[in-house]
Symmetry: C2
Subunit: 198 residues, 2 copies
DNA sequence: CTAATTCTTGACTGGTTCGTCCATAACGCT
DNA sequence: AGCGTTATGGACGAACCAGTCAAGAATTAG
């Protein structure tokens, strides 16, 4: 009954994500996003409300997609749990090293820039971190069931440690650490996880 | 022979650091800093050149002070090396948890916002990280000499792991992790470091 | 005291940016 | 086809902000 949109909302969100990710929130102009998407500013504001709301949408979606991706990587039977965990840690090192532009992770970047003054961003970041922790905890418990990690260790504590290492890899990557260093960290972290006594 | 400055340069740098730290680079206005210091904008520009240069001075100084502080914390004889290392890791967890405003570390925040597009910031962050890594490596080597850490482990690799955990604690703190979680991470990280075989 | 030099103050400029507004376009229902 | 409704696009307004400038103030050498 009314004029339909000419643009795909998801595509606009993707483009906006790229801009916010590269430039940060404050340094990205709405007009950049308008030009990059070919939209007029009126459409942009009409569809998303404003810069802050648009960022919230982007950030929300990004956090969700990160958790989803990890969730998919860590899904499977107990027998392969350790292999999946190992692959996940190495993948983080590789992905961080491959990010030669050092833009890092939008979750970390957005939280660093805005969490202090934006409760919405802070909440969303916290939720994502908690979800990641829970996923890792489940994975470590699976490793324990399969005898790949010492059964007497607290899976929650080990998960928190692994999560810290993963976030640390990301942070060091942004500061310019070499691929070798990052891979070393991944290997060492896996190596120090307590194995069951024979 | 000329009119002397009425302000203390160091005090202005301290105030500027607070502002940049709270608000980030882009969101901090030069006029904020001028008002907070009581200076006129002309004096500010006359003394420091411009916003970017002022931030570089602040960032440089901050990185130096972080490395200095860690260096002081880790200085001492081999017998106390493990105790110092342990105290350092716990101190990071406690300090991060105490930072209820979640402003985190200016090194991480500045690098996240600017390293991608500002080579000076990127270089300085990299140098600071490398210095921290070297300090930790020396400390771990001392622990090994004293028999507190397995002698066959690579001190560089363990140092990189510890550094990743420390940066990870900082990142998780910014995302809202509880003090308990952060302390758990510190304890677990220390617990998994390889001890010498008896 | 005068001159030379550097510092201070705050008004001003030029450019930038968020967000709004409006005339117009596109669509479906009747 | 006509109408109501929603999307479009770009011009516009108002605020903001980095950096400049000029007039005056403080200090010391001579």
């Amino acid at each position: 009954m009314a004029r339909p949109r000419k643009f795909d909302e998801q595509q606009v969100l993707d483009t906006a994500r790229e801009r916010f990710w590269s430039g940060g929130y404050a340094a990205t102009r709405m007009e950049d996003i308008a030009e990059a998407t070919g939209l007029g500013k009126g459409s942009l504001y009409g569809a998303f409300g404003g810069k802050r709301e648009l960022f919230h949408r982007v950030f929300d979606e990004y956090c969700g997609s990160v958790v989803d991706a990890v969730s998919r990587q860590l899904r499977g039977n107990d027998a392969d749990a350790y292999a999946r965990l190992s692959a996940h840690v190495y993948a983080m090192a590789a992905a961080t090293a491959a990010d030669t532009a050092h833009r890092g992770c939008l979750l970390a970047k957005g939280a660093a820039e805005l969490a202090e003054h934006d409760e919405t961003v802070a909440k969303r970041a916290r939720a994502a971190i908690e979800a990641l922790q829970a996923l890792l905890e489940g994975e470590i418990a699976a490793c324990q069931r399969n005898g790949d990690i010492a059964a007497d260790a607290d899976p929650g504590e080990l998960a928190a440690l692994v999560l810290a290492v993963l976030r640390g890899i990301e942070a060091l990557g942004k500061a310019g650490a070499s691929e070798e260093t990052l891979t070393d960290i991944a290997r060492t972290a896996l190596a120090v996880l307590p194995r069951p006594a024979h």
